[in-house]
């Protein structure tokens, strides 16, 4: 496919990579914590974890600035945390507290933080793409040098809206990055049974540059994202970044994944993003990464957020009723 010339800056400094590792660990440990709390019945509703896919969130976010925006999916914890949603507001929301960023009204599937440009997780597969499209349009129209990012899963590719958005983004040459987290699954079936096409071929039909990257290698994702975002920021129009990754947990917590091969499940650990980033560090000569220490450090931050969230209060139904409209009217 026709591609733009992209100059990639190599991320070879150990410090940069260590920072990415730390970010990965934050998302990972936050979700593992949630998983445990969910099993204990402390988290209401249902939750979709991005465990195994964190490198996509962390890697892409490294290329973004605070004024850049993103629209996310049902599996949006990683996007939210990596974009900078405060952990306390995050956990408070997941625990349905009034102190949650969405005041306990949205929960896992609707985490959002406008102050960092995180325009929301979304319960409707595909819907985030059109929101990101509109955000990109606003960036362009208002002359901001900002980029909008649409995260979506491979299963979402079957939604017609995705295609409408690709066509529009290309037509209007919008500063929009499409990030597909291709984990091979849409709910309980492989996406190979759901899609008759490859994203690369589709993007190529729309003449949108497409890059495929190892979505479990945060350094690879970050490098690719940085190059692609730079070109978008220059006004060269949309691009697609397809991150090949692995959904480690079930579709949602509680899904025993009986439909998956044991071999596939076993193989997953090898490609674990944390393991991969440690190998990256080793490759640049850092063999003494103190993963346990880093984990403890991250855990302390997470524990503090969880503790604060737990101290939160229950949202007030009357206040909620008056927040449907800006003018506070309630029917």
């Amino acid at each position: 496919m026709r591609d733009r010339e992209l100059t990639e800056r190599r991320l070879d400094e150990a410090a940069e990579i260590t920072a990415l590792l730390r970010d990965l660990l934050i998302v990972r440990r936050a979700e593992e914590r949630l998983s445990a709390m969910f099993a204990d019945g402390e988290v209401p509703g249902f939750i979709h974890l991005s465990i195994g896919q964190e490198a996509v969130s962390v890697g892409v976010m490294r290329a973004l600035r605070v004024e850049d925006t993103l629209a996310s999916t049902h599996r949006g914890h990683g996007h939210a945390i990596a974009k900078g949603m405060p952990l306390e507001g995050f956990f408070s929301e997941l625990l349905a507290k009034n102190e949650g960023l969405c005041r306990g009204r949205g929960g896992s599937m609707h985490v959002a933080d406008m102050s960092v440009g995180m325009l929301g997780a979304n319960g409707i597969v595909g819907a985030g793409l059109s929101i990101a499209l509109g955000s990109a349009l606003a960036h362009k129209t208002l002359g901001r040098n900002a980029v909008a990012v649409a995260f979506f899963g491979d299963g979402a590719l079957a939604e017609g809206l995705v295609h409408e958005c690709m066509n529009l983004a290309a037509l209007w040459k919008l500063p929009l990055l499409f990030v597909c987290e291709n984990n091979g699954w849409g709910e309980f079936r492989p996406t190979s049974q759901q899609l008759a096409f490859a994203l690369g071929d589709l993007a190529s039909a729309y003449r949108i540059p497409h890059r495929i990257v190892d979505g479990n290698d945060v350094v690879a994702v970050a490098e690719a994202a940085e190059a692609v975002v730079r070109s978008i920021r220059k006004g060269e129009g949309p691009a697609v970044l397809e991150c090949m990754t692995v959904r480690v947990r079930g579709h949602f917590e509680g899904d025993a994944q009986k439909y998956r091969d044991q071999a596939e499940l076993d193989a997953m650990t090898e490609r674990d993003p944390i393991r991969v980033v440690c190998e990256r560090l080793a490759a640049c000569g850092v063999n003494d990464t103190d993963l346990d220490g880093l984990t403890r450090e991250v855990d302390a931050v997470i524990e503090a957020a969880v503790a604060a969230a737990r101290r939160g209060t229950d949202p007030d139904p009357v206040a909620a009723r008056h927040d449907v409209y800006t003018d506070g009217a309630a029917a």
């Binding site: 969405c102 929960g107 609707h110 319960g123 309980f188 139904p317 909620a320 009723r321 449907v324």
Partner: protein, 324 residues
């Protein structure tokens, strides 16, 4: 009589309908191998094979549209839309195609399809996985809409919906899936358009459908303790709905309360109330009261959601108000 769960009643109705008529096919996301996201089609792929149980990609609009074309060409498709909230994506297929084909083509053909979809809250599923949007479909000439309240009506109405020559929106309630209930052996179809009097009474008529029937029933129990005799009418069908039965009940009790889980404003209850304020006006001895969800999205938090869902207390207050 056997006791089965609501979900199993749906499953059995699908299975029996497929046995009875080889033109019945199922389509939807994960309806096949996975047996349906809630388990409604468990075992059916194994029994009927992949040409009759079609696992579809995440393409609601195309699946519903395909059902219309398939129904015009000899099949009787049953499409599952995973949450009623996602019916936003099939409105064109249902409203501009399925509902209108018979009429706008001069009666040349009809569209014998069923759209199955679960509505309702109470599970902490949040604003995009809990809505009750049946009033939209009830407003569309050419569609039928049913909403069973228990296993027997789930079975009976689903068989009737699949047998119906016209498009039917079959609304299930997620919170009722686990509910157990008696069902005839062999189970019987229910006629679309007929309400059921779930409990006879003389002082007030409470009309409800879906899960709200049980809220109404509990309210009636409590009212009985207080010496108020409530009649509970379970609509079962929303389009067409059983005006005659509601009017007859109102003519006995002279007071009317309507309960549903959907947002009160512009909900199904509005039509019932409006009709009774016309054709039943002379029978009314008190204001027509409605109990529905407040005008807000379904919130995630348990506390907020509990305050959102129409409660037994709200029904009691409404009854008090009309008896004043």
């Amino acid at each position: 009589m056997t006791e089965i769960r609501y979900l199993k009643a749906v499953n059995t109705a699908l299975s029996d309908a497929m046995d009875a008529d080889p033109s019945v096919v199922l389509m939807g996301e994960d309806v096949g191998e996975a047996g349906g996201p809630f388990g409604a089609s468990r075992g059916l792929l194994e029994r009927f094979g992949p040409s009759r149980v079609l696992d579809g990609p995440i393409s609601e609009a195309a699946l519903a549209g395909a059902a219309v074309g398939a129904a015009m060409s000899g099949l009787r498709p049953v499409v599952e839309i995973m949450f009623m909230d996602f019916t936003t994506l099939v409105m064109d297929a249902m409203v501009n195609q399925a509902a209108k084909v018979r009429f706008m083509f001069g009666g040349q053909t009809s569209v014998p399809m069923v759209l199955r979809t679960p509505h309702g809250g109470g599970l902490g599923a949040g604003p995009q996985h809990s809505q009750c949007l049946e009033a939209w479909f009830a407003h569309v000439p050419g569609l039928k809409v049913v909403c069973p309240s228990d296993p027997a009506s789930a079975y009976g109405l689903l068989r009737a919906a699949i047998a119906d020559p016209d498009p039917v929106v079959f609304v299930e309630n997620k919170a009722l899936y686990a509910m157990k209930g008696e069902i005839a052996d062999p189970p019987a179809p229910f006629a679309i358009g007929r309400a059921a009097i779930r409990r006879s009474g003389t002082d007030v008529t409470i009309v409800a459908y879906g899960a709200a029937v049980h809220t109404a029933g509990t309210a009636a129990d409590r009212l009985a303790e207080r010496g108020v005799s409530a009649e509970v009418v379970d609509l079962l069908s929303l389009q067409p709905w059983d005006e005659a039965t509601v009017l007859a009940s109102l003519s006995r009790t002279h007071r009317l309360v309507i309960v549903h889980e959907a947002v009160e404003a512009f909900g199904v209850g509005a039509e019932i109330a409006a009709r009774m304020a016309q054709v039943g006006f002379d029978e009314l001895d008190g204001p027509i009261m409605r109990v529905g969800a407040p005008f807000m999205p379904v919130p995630f938090s348990k506390g907020l959601e509990a305050a959102y869902m129409p409660s037994v207390d709200a029904v009691l207050q409404a009854v008090d108000k009309t008896l004043e």
